[in-house]
């Protein structure tokens, strides 16, 4: 690897993950929350790929593909749920979607 050291990738990955966590915790819009989850997944993907490249092993790549496939499936299901919630509730605020509790 020339130029960009591994730690940079990892720091970027950590920053992206932290952003995802912050977005998940502090945003109320379901779409934004959903995007935050995707961000976290991709932050992890980044570190997988970085390690894989560093260690010259293919495992990290394969893992990344698995994560992408699962993320795609999850996006399909998640967006469908969000659509249904919006149809029934006419809101995208997660704080108002708590009927299991109340």
């Amino acid at each position: 690897m020339t130029g960009v050291p591994l730690s940079w990738y990892l720091i970027l990955s950590a920053l992206l993950f932290a952003l995802g966590v912050a977005g998940f915790l502090f945003r109320r819009n379901i779409i934004t929350v959903f995007m935050s989850i995707e961000l976290m997944l991709n932050a992890v993907n980044l570190s997988f790929v970085a390690f894989s490249y560093q260690l010259k092993q293919v495992n990290g790549h394969i893992f990344t593909f698995f994560v992408m496939v699962v993320a795609a499936a999850e996006a399909a299901v998640g967006l469908a749920i969000i659509l249904t919630v919006f149809k029934n509730r006419e809101t995208l605020n997660v704080d108002e979607v708590n009927s299991l509790k109340n």
Partner: protein, 613 residues
Amino acid sequence: MQHLWLIPVLPLLGFLLNGLFGRRLAKGAVTAIALGSVLLSFAWVVKTLVGLGALETAYIERYFTWFQSGDLRVGADLSVDRLTAVMLLVVTGVGSLIHIYAVGYMTHEGGYYRFFAYLNLFMFFMLVLVLGANFLLLFVGWEGVGLCSYLLIGFYFLKKSATDAGKKAFIVNRIGDFGFSLAMLLIVITFGSLDFGAVFPAAASKPESTLTLIGLLLLLGACGKSAQAPLYVWLPDAMEGPTPVSALIHAATMVTAGVYMVARSSAIYLHAHAAQEMVAYIGLGTAVFAATIGLAQNDIKKVFAYSTVSQLGYMFLGLGAGAFSAGIFHLVTHAFFKALLFLGAGSVIHALEGEQDLRHMGGLRTRIPVTFWTLACAWVAIAGIPPFAGFHSKDAILLAAHHHAPWMYWVGVLTAAMTAFYVSRAMFLAFFGEPRGHHHPHESPPVMTAPLAVLALLSLAGGFLDVPKFLEPLFPLSEGAHDFALVAISVVAGLAGIGLAALFYVVKPGLADAVANALGGLYTLVYNKYFVDELYDAAVVRPVETGSREALWKGVDAGLIDGAANGVASIARATGGLLRLIQSGNIRSYATWVVFGSILVLVAIGLVGGGAR
């Protein structure tokens, strides 16, 4: 082979048949089974004894090993020696007579088949008790007769006093049995065997302290079963049972099991001087104590019950004074005349349709003459009038007591006088004077009076059966020669007792009450049986009851055990209540918990240095 096992097994068969099928059988069939099994057993006893001849040494039949543990082998072995022979004849002979009598007595009672099933079961256990060739088999019979006693005392189980009396008998006996069990353990440790044939010959070589302890523990067992002080309290209450039961179990046979056991263990007592001395003291004390209580009882069966306790005390006095054969002799004659007294009392009660209070009797002499005349035979026998049964055996004991310690003789004579007095009192109150109740007495049927007649004959002539002579191979006759003066004194004491009773209750009927009033507190004390029951109630029953209720129930059970179980549950509930707060239903708060958890895991891994291989 003499097939000794048939002797106890026959009544057991009777029990099984009547117990299992009696409800469906006709009354005649129940009677036939119950009587037949006992009479056959008696016949087999006679046949066996004839077949065994002189019986100088014990005849033993070994059937199988009951259990074996290390070197200890306990076999189902039956043995007959002269002592057993005497007991077998008394148990099956008197038992048969009482069975016959019970057919008449119980004919109008409910649970006819149940009664005879229990009675046959009792015969089985009693025969096992006397036939057993080791302590454990004796103990099996010992416990079994206790069970039957309990069942039969509580025969009228709808009556609270009867069931209470049954429980009392069972529990008090348990105290004695505890001593017996300990004695058996000590015998196993000391002798390595429970067989009579192995234990007794070895007794002389064992340390006296151990033998004394064994003797005292056996005595505790005997005190329970044979109603000696301080465990006699159950016997008077046992009169709640039907009268034939009182006669068979609580006068003639079961209560003499303790006497038999002590006599059987004579080899131990002869080498345990202190224990034997204790037997004499307990016997003498009980004899006097119970006789004084008997003086003031008004229930005819209670009078005879205390008389039984007192006479059993006599037997123990004989055993303790070293005259084992005299004790057994008195056991035999007592079985005759006390069974007769109880059966006669039953006949009186039967005639008066259940009346037991002497104050409501009177004038029965001409109304039920057969009962009166047979009872009169028991009367002269127990009062020690020569030449009737009680005279011979009682004098044998008193002479032995005099040989042992003269003061014991004098206390014994005093007891004899009291015995004569209270029995005469009962007789005078029941049969003489004017009728005091509103009854129409009727004589009992022949099925009841015939056994009375046989027992009357035995009470009159039983003293001429020279039991001590017969038992000489087992118990050497004591050297105390017949001292005419001593005999005369005890006879005079008996006559004085009768005379005094005649004066009090026939010649001057008001005198008894006057004397009772004059004695005041003393009379109250005796009338209330020295408040022994109340004393035990306050000293034992109540503390146990209160302790059980307050400490064991409310403290241990409700507090500790329930508290622990409930505590676990409430801790789980409280924890759950706290954890429930996390379930807010808010996605973002769940996410926060996840983050916190992740951070916690990361910190923990960092702390323990995770990742490093």
